[in-house]
């Protein structure tokens, strides 16, 4: 009935002409505002491509300079006086071992500290002070860490200019990053989830272990990987503690085929790492070595990209199952 009525008696609008004139003005105004949108997106795009372009140019430059050294020999040769047969073996093995120590030092300490600050520490002026300090530590120049390590680890504790010292130093360096990212990902867990766990009668530790850690490890892992990527490229603190620049031997292997299969001699061994090797080659007058340095630089950038990419992928994959 309603619909038939509608078709037989079509109501006509009686909008006054002044309103229609206004509509024209409104449309002109919307057009002007839309222009601003367009302008800003153009500026943003320009800024972004400029930054990306610079990075790409740098990377491409390194690749073009060093691509002739991208072969197996480059990775399996020790450094040499002859640029053509010099390789990265001792550097990448050293980097890998230092990273291992860094990881073992920074992750448990950082996660535990972050957890404590977020879940257990009472909220007062003292915890505020700690918080400010942790955030500040992340911004301390890495050379300062190097000086600290030289004094503390090398001289006072007598650990020498070893892999252990380097690992501990870099561990300290990325500790604030791990702590901050742990706290951030713990904070991302909604109060409601925590309360839900408490409401069914869970204790604090049950809540932390069953929920807080489980739901935040994706974020923590991301922070750890990003921290490690930074540690991989660090040069200054390693040089400060006195890493060798020319090494033609490998540290003792951490695993062996005789019992107890694992040994810790490698910890006290001398070493070098990728950025130092690069620095060393760069400081030589012979242009051939500069090619090696460029190749190493490209490799470091690639490794960093790879690690950051892994971090992004892991974060995406773990977050996929968590929606809040």
């Amino acid at each position: 009935m309603m619909s038939t009525n509608m078709t037989t008696k079509k109501p006509t609008s009686s909008t006054p002409a002044s309103v229609l004139k206004n509509l024209g003005e409104v449309r002109a105004m919307i057009k002007r505002h839309k222009l601003n949108d367009y302008l800003f997106s153009l500026i943003g795009l320009l800024a972004l491509s400029l930054a990306l372009l610079t990075l790409m140019t740098l990377f491409m430059d390194l690749v073009i300079d060093g691509y002739q050294r991208f072969n197996l020999d480059f990775f399996s040769n020790f450094p040499s006086r002859r640029a053509g047969s010099a390789g990265l073996l001792s550097a990448w093995v050293g980097s890998a071992l230092v990273m291992l120590v860094t990881f073992i030092v920074a992750v448990p300490m950082g996660v535990a500290a972050g957890l404590y600050l977020e879940e257990y520490a009472p909220k007062n002026w003292f915890s505020d002070l700690i918080e400010i300090n942790v955030t500040n530590l992340a911004g301390v120049p890495s050379i300062v860490y190097g000086l600290l390590a030289l004094g503390l680890f090398v001289y006072i504790l007598g650990l020498g200019q070893s892999i252990l010292t380097a690992g501990l130093t870099l561990g300290l360096l990325i500790l604030p990053i791990v702590i901050v990212s742990t706290r951030e990902s713990i904070r991302a867990i909604p109060t409601a989830i925590r309360e839900a766990a408490y409401a069914v009668g869970a204790t604090k530790w049950q809540v932390v272990y069953d929920h807080v850690l489980k739901y935040s490890y994706g974020g923590i892992l991301t922070g750890v990987i990003i921290g490690m990527a930074r540690a991989l490229g660090e040069t200054a603190p390693i040089i400060t503690i006195g890493a060798l620049t020319f090494i033609a031997f490998l540290p003792p292997s951490p695993v062996s085929d005789v019992a107890p299969f694992i040994n810790f001699e490698w910890l006290s061994s001398g070493f070098t790492v990728l950025p130092i090797q690069m620095f060393n080659w760069l400081s030589r007058p012979d242009h051939a070595f500069h090619i090696n340095a460029a190749a190493t630089g490209a490799i470091i950038i690639l490794l960093t990209l790879l690690m950051n990419g892994t971090a992004i992928y892991l974060r995406y994959k773990i977050r996929k199952n968590i929606k809040w």
């Binding site: 409601a192 309360e195 929606k323």
Partner: protein, 259 residues
């Protein structure tokens, strides 16, 4: 009128509550919860109804600086659950809670329901299976999820998630169940399902529900309390509150002249 012989499951006696910073959120609230009945708390935002509800499972203990005064006594054992010697965890094992927004854990449907039992140290697979099934049936969710218990809880719809949260709260056989605006994030049909579920649950346990929605209080509850500025203004059976409240403040609130 409330029949004076109705058995009481728990009651607050002269309950005062202070938030960290001194905000006096509850003022001498004396209110019984009747056994196997649904009691609804209504009142404008900030009137203290959620604060009151959260006293019952000591949720306020999670945040430092909050202070209770007075008692909440549970029957028949006459335990004052606010007493210092009583561990909040013990209280939460007897009184469970359903929250405003569905808040399942990012775990499987099964693990969500089983969590309360795991916390209590239950690890026998068969026991857990039985209890999970019973709780999901009790929350009217079993038929919808029985073939996908290992699916993530987040894949359920909002209404199903809330029923899952009810199942989680139900699995541990609580004596009292607290509902803190359980349907404010749900559509009308899911809301009706939850309300129907609540009136089925009261056969087994005592329910206290906070709601912003007066009509919801009218629909589901046996008794209704009107709170204002931390005080209990009027408490009576729901028919009386909604047809002839004795205080003008209550009348103004439920007729929409204030609040």
């Amino acid at each position: 009128m409330i029949n004076p012989t109705t058995p009481i499951k728990a009651e607050s006696r002269d309950l005062n509550f202070f938030y960290n910073g001194g905000n006096h959120a509850l003022k001498s609230v004396n209110m019984p919860l009747y056994e196997n009945k649904i009691t609804a708390l209504i009142g404008p935002s900030g009137c203290g109804k959620s604060t009151f509800l959260r006293c019952f499972n000591r949720m306020h203990d999670l945040y430092p600086g909050n202070k209770y005064q007075g008692q909440i006594v549970m029957h028949p054992d006459n335990t004052n659950i606010l007493e210092h010697g009583v561990d909040p965890i013990e209280v939460r094992m007897r009184i469970s809670m359903v929250f405003q927004k569905p808040n399942p854990f990012p775990k499987s449907i099964y693990e969500n329901v089983a969590y309360g039992l795991r916390v209590r140290g239950e690890s026998n697979k068969r026991q857990l299976d039985d209890k999970v099934e019973e709780a999901l049936k009790g929350a009217a969710l079993w038929n919808e999820v029985k073939d996908r218990l290992q699916d993530l809880a987040f894949n359920l719809s909002g209404g199903q998630q809330q029923r899952l949260c009810i199942a989680r709260a139900l699995a541990t056989d609580p004596e009292i169940m607290l509902f803190d605006e359980p349907t404010s994030a749900l559509d009308p049909i899911a809301t009706a399902n939850i309300e129907e579920l609540m009136s089925e649950l009261k056969q087994k346990l005592t329910i206290l529900v906070v709601t912003h929605n007066m009509q919801q209080a009218a629909r589901v509850s046996d008794y209704t309390a009107y709170m204002y500025l931390g005080e209990l203004m009027e408490y009576d059976d729901t028919n009386t509150i909604f047809t002839r409240p004795s205080r003008k403040e209550t009348e103004d609130y439920i007729t929409g002249k204030f609040g």
